[in-house]
């Protein structure tokens, strides 16, 4: 059904690819995608195949009661059982997956708090702990959960680092909290995902994940420079 398969995983790489995850949230979402892709490809092939078969087969002559029975089987089987079964399967995987992405208190330690304020067309980044301010650059420690507090001072933007996790809107007047985590040190690209005017296409930023020790060193240095 969808174009993914023949490409193999190499085609899925890319600095903004959700299919090349580098953090637990993004990995969960990618898993959900592949699971749904397989399941729904089967459903798609089955439904369309049955339709085409139904069109081109020559119907055998049956009595009315038999025919009614067959019709009911199609409608109840395909119209009720099939979608409800799919929904149950989806929710069975989706609800725990969604829960794991929420900014709940982590099992051990605590999440790093970063404040991001969007404006047309860049991102102001602020660390309340240490009073560090940056622009279009978010430094985080790898392997530790980070809570990004997102807001906006003008129009609505959306904070999105595809390889780390889902997006969350930056809305004037309110603050949303997004939980992110990078598995390994590295540089991850982010972009604005909500249309915000003429500069929308270029409203990019970078998340730089450090080793925990390097991160502490970076923070001390950055706080000192202020």
């Amino acid at each position: 059904m969808l174009a993914g398969t023949p490409l193999g995983l190499t085609g899925c790489a890319g600095p903004f690819s959700t299919l090349h995850p580098a953090g637990p949230s993004a990995a969960t979402a990618a898993m959900l995608w592949w699971g749904m892709f397989v399941l729904f490809s089967l459903v798609f092939v089955a439904v369309c195949g049955l339709w085409l078969y139904a069109m081109f087969r020559s119907p055998s002559i049956r009595d009315e009661a038999q025919e009614k029975h067959i019709h009911r089987r199609w409608i109840i089987g395909g119209g009720l059982v099939l979608p409800l079964a799919c929904i149950v399967v989806l929710l069975a995987f989706g609800i725990p997956a969604g829960h794991s992405m929420l900014p709940l208190p982590p099992d051990e330690g605590e999440a790093l708090e970063v404040h991001v304020t969007a404006r047309q067309w860049h991102w102001d980044v602020h660390y309340p702990d240490g009073d560090i301010s940056l622009s279009n650059e978010v430094h985080i420690p790898a392997g530790r959960p980070v809570d990004v507090h997102v807001t906006s001072v003008d129009v609505i933007h959306s904070f999105w680092v595809p390889r780390l996790g889902g997006k969350l809107d930056a809305i004037p007047g309110r603050t949303n909290v997004l939980r992110l985590q990078a598995d390994a040190p590295g540089s991850y690209r982010g972009q604005c995902a909500e249309f915000c005017g003429t500069g929308h296409a270029h409203m990019h930023f970078t998340v730089i994940a450090h080793d925990p020790e390097d991160f502490d060193a970076w923070r001390t240095e950055a706080a000192g420079n202020d």
């Binding site: 790489a13 995608w33 009720l80 249309f195």
Partner: protein
């Protein structure tokens, strides 16, 4: 139509005279549903081509990375207008037009029950569309996206007139949607052929009935939101502005409260086409008629409960997200029921393979794919990743092109012989299909992957080397293949008008009444109105065509010069009365022109002219309502009135009454949206600040309410007594009611001007002011219409023999009374009680 007796041809000529449009320029005064429906569809097709050209511009710009064919400013206008034109000026209106054309022919009527409203709707659509498009020509088109999120679309961040074009133009166009929704609902319920009970109604009509009711409830939130945002932009009332106590997310709620039902508003008529064509080509009745009806109704209800799935990244409470996620998935159930009912029909039928069926297969493949990605998107943790990426662009095109355009093309090829009496070319038709189908899938199948690789929507360009380059290039190539396919279809349709082979009547051997008509259909449709005793009239009564033409059924003659159809019971479709319809009229055009003046002068902010336009529109609309009932130009009382059944204006129940009920349902949806806004801002807006003391004088509001209550009960008694045959002092009593209404309005004006409202500083006062204006408008409308009834009573247009109009007006009074006290409670009593507790 072989042999006609002279008497028969005289009768047909007379019907033709009574039902024809005026010649020459007079055709602009046409109200006939066949003419209006065709105009809607042709206009919609032109807008489709314009929207398509905009899409080609988008695909050209995105074909290669880092192109600057379009600047971001122009690109934003182009994609905004592409979405706006396709949704508001193509998809909805062309389906409305199609329903307007088809419904009377399918239910065995000669016209819709409110022909002048059809005409008004068309002109509002045409003028509104032209106004919106003019902004594109002037280079000042809206550029905040077709969803117009605030604050980006607000005055501060979109200071130009672009947003105003959108808000005013779309609201103007929406008049046509509301008009179609109301008149289709009433027509389907009240003017079906004698005996066509709900269970014998073609599925097509069920779908259109559901669509119409969804328009009635779905469009008011958008209309309200547009009006509020335009007031915010023009006068600074902060409904959506955080600093003043508003909230931009309220816009999103109101927009998607409309926006999601809207998807089903365009899907249902398309599914109607599929459900009509499949049994014809499978040569057997549809399987699971009742299941399909049930799933249509379910779709209608569920679709109002899943708007939040457009807002999963807004930061809505998680429990609410879970609820809307499940609701969004559940809407797959009624759709699956329909898909499998169609499958079962094909399964046990003998399928004729033809061009319309080719488009139906295309529909199935594309739409099932779009439906499945839709279920994926309903899963919140996945949605957070792909929301606002090209994955969603791909999904929505699979749903709307698959779920609307493909069936529409199937319907076009199926009904072309009815429109024109000719068959298009099979070869060109197939070529057109395959080009469109291939081009579409090349464009949009790949786009799912583009989105998964992280390309957001609405960016005018992108860097090279992000993995998006070849995908975008192929999508653009596909887009142009699809455009070629559509060009072939246009050529095919154009050529067939001239070179198409003439078809016999009912070429597909269908079972529905429209195929009993001559092709192209005469303006009166049916020479006599046939009774319907089965779900498949043409199959079970093959002689129906001849007997209709021979005038063997209802209302065969038009000697009286009136346009007449049967009014029938909503459930059983027993004939109850004869509905006399208005003939050609210039009033809809004049009213629409006045509204266009209002629209344009609000755009350029010349409010004096806007006021003039409002006065003009009011004059024409009141004149319109004056030329009704027993007015000499309509159906004056005569000696030999038909009695069994009687003319509807001589009874206490008619289409106008039903029209009033449906209009009030729409009005109620608007009112509830406003109430929702009030409670939403009160509980959610970050800076909501109610005043310390009561904003308005409770005593004045109470006094005003007492006068309204007195007026309403007085009118209620007048109407009831009239229905029972009592008309003593009718004229005087109506005047007294009008005076009571006028006092109500005057006291309410006093209460508003006495209050110390600061609507530009404070969202609380802004919403309160809007509510007061809403109540004032209703009070004034009731008063004016009652005064008009008094004048009509003096002229003898309202009397014991003509008790109809006060019954209609009674409902408006009761509604006004209800919303008045509800508002008083919600706005003035609840807040202090709440903070007191």
């Amino acid at each position: 139509m072989t042999e006609q007796t002279p008497e028969q041809s005289a009768r047909l000529a007379q019907l033709q005279r009574v039902w024809a449009n005026l010649p020459g320029i007079g055709t602009l005064a046409a109200v006939n549903h066949t003419s209006i429906g065709l105009r809607f569809m042709i206009t919609g097709a032109v807008f489709f081509l314009i929207g398509g050209v905009l899409a080609m511009l988008v695909r050209t710009q995105l074909a290669l990375p880092e192109q600057d064919i379009l600047s971001p400013e122009i690109y934003n206008q182009v994609f905004t207008m592409h979405g706006t034109v396709m949704m508001f000026l193509f998809a909805i209106p062309i389906l409305e037009g199609f329903a307007i054309y088809m419904i009377p022919k399918m239910i065995g009527a000669r016209d819709l029950v409110f022909p002048r409203i059809s005409s008004l709707g068309y002109y509002c659509y045409l003028f509104g569309g032209l106004i919106i498009l003019s902004s594109l020509v002037l280079g000042i088109a809206p550029d905040a996206g077709w969803f117009m999120y605030t604050p980006l679309s607000g005055q501060e961040y979109s200071p130009g007139p672009g947003s105003d074009f959108w808000l005013l133009g779309i609201t103007f166009v929406e008049i046509s949607a509301m008009a179609a929704g109301i008149e289709l609902t009433v027509s389907i319920l009240r003017s079906r052929a004698n005996g066509m009970s709900l269970t014998r109604m073609p599925l097509f009509c069920w779908y259109i009935l559901a669509m119409s009711l969804m328009i009635v409830f779905g469009f008011p939130p958008l209309i309200l939101a547009s009006v509020l945002l335009e007031i915010e932009r023009a006068a600074g009332l902060p409904f959506f502005e955080v600093a003043g106590g508003g909230d931009p997310v309220l816009w999103q709620h109101l927009f998607w409260l409309f926006g999601h039902p809207e998807v089903y508003i365009i899907f249902l008529p398309a599914a109607a086409i599929v459900s009509t064509l499949i049994p014809v080509f499978a040569q057997r009745p549809i399987v699971g008629y009742r299941w399909i009806v049930l799933s249509i109704i379910l779709t209608g209800f569920i679709s109002f409960g899943l708007w939040v799935h457009h807002m999963f990244t807004v930061g809505i409470p998680h429990l609410a997200q879970a609820f809307f996620s499940v609701a969004s998935m559940l809407v797959a159930v009624p759709t699956a029921i329909q898909v499998f009912a169609w499958l079962a029909t094909l399964w046990s039928g003998r399928v004729i393979y033809s061009l319309p069926m080719l488009w139906i297969i295309g529909f199935l493949v594309v739409f099932v794919c779009g439906g499945l990605t839709g279920v994926m998107l309903a899963l919140v943790p996945f949605n957070w990743q792909v929301h606002d990426t090209h994955f969603v662009v791909a999904h929505l095109h699979y749903v709307v092109v698959g779920g609307m355009f493909f069936p529409l093309m199937a319907g076009l090829y199926y009904w072309l012989p009815l429109f024109s009496g000719r068959q298009p070319s099979q070869r060109l038709g197939r070529l057109g299909f395959w080009l469109t189908f291939t081009g579409f899938n090349v464009t949009f199948l790949l786009m799912h992957l583009t989105g998964l690789l992280g390309m957001p929507r609405r960016i005018y360009t992108y860097e090279a080397g992000l993995g998006w380059d070849w995908l975008n290039l192929l999508s653009s190539v596909g887009g142009f293949i699809m455009a070629a396919g559509i060009a072939v279809i246009i050529v095919d349709v154009a050529l067939h008008l001239r070179f198409g082979r003439p078809t016999p009547r009912n070429p597909w051997k269908a079972d529905t009444l429209e195929w009993s008509l001559d092709t192209p259909p005469p303006p009166y449709n049916f020479a006599s109105l046939p009774p319907v005793r089965t779900r498949h009239p043409l199959h079970e009564h093959p002689d129906l065509q001849t007997s209709i033409a021979a005038g063997e059924h209802g209302l065969p003659s038009a000697e009286h010069g009136r346009r007449e159809i049967y009014g029938s019971d909503a459930v059983t479709a027993r004939v109850r009365e004869i509905i006399h319809l208005p003939t050609n009229s210039w009033l809809p055009l004049l009213a629409a022109l006045s509204l266009a003046v209002v629209c344009v002068s609000l755009l350029v902010r010349v409010y004096e002219v806007a006021l003039l336009g409002v006065v003009g529109a009011a004059v024409f609309l009141l004149r319109w309502s004056w030329v009704n009932g027993a007015h000499p130009q309509m159906a004056p009382l005569t000696e030999d009135e038909p009695v069994n059944p009687p003319l509807h204006s001589r009874t206490c129940d008619g289409p106008g009454l039903w029209g009033m009920v449906v209009t009030l349902m729409a009005n109620g949806a608007l009112y509830l949206s406003l109430l929702f806004g009030w409670f939403y801002l009160w509980t959610v807006a970050p800076n909501w600040s109610p005043p310390d003391s009561q904003a308005m004088s409770l005593w004045l509001v109470l006094a005003s309410g007492i006068f309204l209550t007195l007026a309403t009960f007085r009118h209620h008694r007048i109407a009831r007594r009239l229905a029972a045959g009592g008309a003593t002092g009718l004229h005087r009593r109506l005047w007294q009611t009008a005076v009571l209404g006028a006092i109500h309005v005057a006291v309410l004006i006093g209460a508003v001007s006495d209050a110390s409202l600061a609507p530009t500083d404070n969202a609380h006062d802004a919403v309160l002011l809007v509510m007061c204006l809403y109540l004032l408008f209703h009070g004034a409308l009731c008063t004016v219409l009652t005064a008009m009834q008094a004048m009509r009573a003096a002229r003898g247009y309202v009397s014991v023999r003509l008790p109809y109009e006060p019954q209609v007006l009674r409902l408006l009074w009761l509604y006004t009374l209800g919303v008045f006290w509800l508002s008083a409670a919600a706005f003035l009593l609840l807040p202090p009680a709440w903070s007191g507790a």
